[in-house]
Symmetry: C2
């Protein structure tokens, strides 16, 4: 049994006593006004990208000792085209330089040949005019959608094995309409979610790490705690990425079924709840950088305390 | 009834007598050696991106009068990070400057709030530090995945209405494992594909263009002609994007069920079949630019002839 990327996530979790990550979802309408002087470009997209990166750096510096990792959401960077994507690349590199695990939330996938290009470009190795090298994104984990079936997932699983990376496959998403497809019952009397879970579990079985968890993980929303119970049983060794806590309505008691007895097996994400909801628009217009970052730190500490104490109550055998 | 983006696609189709687009899927391992002198950068990703853009420009110039549009596949650009994405942006702009319709194949989607960011960033309007503007991608159409349900599709439909753009929702993909989720039968005795098709049809009904087709379209693979028959009936007014022709095994007779009696209602894509399969590795190493582009032109003309004649045989009422 060799160390995999989940072991690194687990070690960070144990060290910080925190199974939660912060979603870096930069929203220029909500980033405090005090960051706007970082624009420093006449190109409107580059100006936004510069503000985003300055903001992310500060947030990362503020929470790096408190959390095991971050989850930047690609949609909020891609909005600003190649400039935004460059800010994403710099954010990933900066977070990694601080020892944080980076979960790239991009929900990519396509047919086999194209899935291979996404897998190589986000987690694998890309061909150059001469030779090859690691891609510029190079996160630790990538979220992946299973709508095109197992053929589309194989290229991602291949690069995970080869490059010691991980994926979180969408199994049960946190949004209100997730059931329209994901809750449909198949001829095996399982929901689509359960059927994808079974596949995720089987694929991960062959390469679990030192802590017994596989790098082929699952996205399971905090907003569906009952489904989480059955999914946890179907995927005992898979790590869960749990969105939906905080701004989306999931509380600490909703996320406990996503974990195992050891207090491991899941990492909870909050984005808006940490970055934006603790100050109103007016406060974000007027606050200093120090005031804003203190509020981020407090929100992150509160989330840690909320989740950690809920797990301690539920799981007596928790190992941290 | 006002003109929508599908009307533009249809007008280009009628003018060129061609319901097929070319997939711009740059693969640096297969781009002819004669393009390598366009690298002109010491940054390895920028060098690849420069070669990709030079290649795309030549391909676009060669086929612009023969085809209604192009379908660049984002995965092959994103591989090279922000440099690759910049080549994508330039490719979209160049294709549009030649009057071509651009279908961005990126299969994006996420939960509502994030789906809105993707919709704004690819088809809508993005917030700046001061004001707002069109995004840098700004294609005519975007492919979108429905795995997260209707809540995740609404933001895309909203921007289509507001900005006269279009989407193709994945309904039945061309790959071998597409059925694992897409063929599962729901409690309404429809497959997931048919259920998504019903939604696509209903959403499009309210804003069809001058030719009677809606801008909320569907991806329906050429590799499943029987499914295409039922999907065509479920979505009479939706435009189909039909991948899987050529390198993936679909032939001209397989794509006819995707069309309506008027010879409209679908646009067939071929990527590898036009760009790479008509020359072997050795030929691509040794050919001149002129020789390569002649082979691309011939492949595009052959595809047009193949599809056009199959439609003429099948549909006597074809309007072009």
């Amino acid at each position: 049994m060799t160390m995999n990327v989940v072991d690194k996530l687990i070690e960070n979790t144990i060290r910080t006593k925190n199974p939660s990550v912060i979603g870096l979802d930069p929203d220029i309408g909500k980033i405090p006004a005090c960051y706007k002087n970082h624009a420093k470009s006449n190109h409107p997209f580059e100006a936004v990208a510069n503000v985003i990166y300055a903001f992310n750096r500060d947030v990362i510096d503020t929470v790096a000792d408190l959390i095991p990792g971050v989850k930047p959401q690609m949609a909020f960077y891609e909005k600003y085209g190649s400039y935004g994507v460059a800010a994403f690349e710099k954010t990933v590199a900066y977070a990694k330089s601080k020892g944080l695990i980076v979960i790239e939330d991009a929900k990519r996938n396509d047919i086999g040949n194209t899935a291979r290009a996404y897998a190589d470009g986000h987690l694998g190795c890309v061909e150059l005019l001469d030779g090859s090298c690691a891609p510029s994104f190079d996160a630790d984990f990538l979220t992946v959608t299973p709508f095109l079936g197992s053929e589309s997932l194989h290229p991602f699983i291949d690069v995970c094995v080869k490059n010691s990376k991980g994926i979180f496959v969408l199994v049960k998403t946190s949004n209100t309409s997730s059931g329209e497809i994901q809750d449909v019952v198949t001829s095996d009397k399982m929901t689509i979610s359960q059927s994808v879970a079974k596949y995720v579990s089987e694929q991960g079985d062959t390469f679990t790490g030192e802590h017994g968890y596989s790098a082929i993980g699952a996205v399971v929303g905090a907003t569906y705690p009952e489904e989480a119970v059955s999914l946890r049983k179907l995927m005992p060794k898979s790590y869960f990425l749990v969105p939906g806590y905080g701004a989306q309505g999931g509380g600490a008691k909703d996320i406990t079924p996503c974990f195992n007895e050891d207090g491991l097996g899941a990492v909870v994400n909050s984005s808006r709840g940490i970055l934006y909801t603790h100050m109103n628009n007016e406060e974000r217009e007027q606050c200093t950088r120090q005031e804003y970052l203190l509020s981020v730190k407090n929100a992150a500490m509160q989330m840690r305390e909320d989740i950690y104490s809920a797990l301690k109550r539920e799981y007596r055998k928790m190992i941290y």
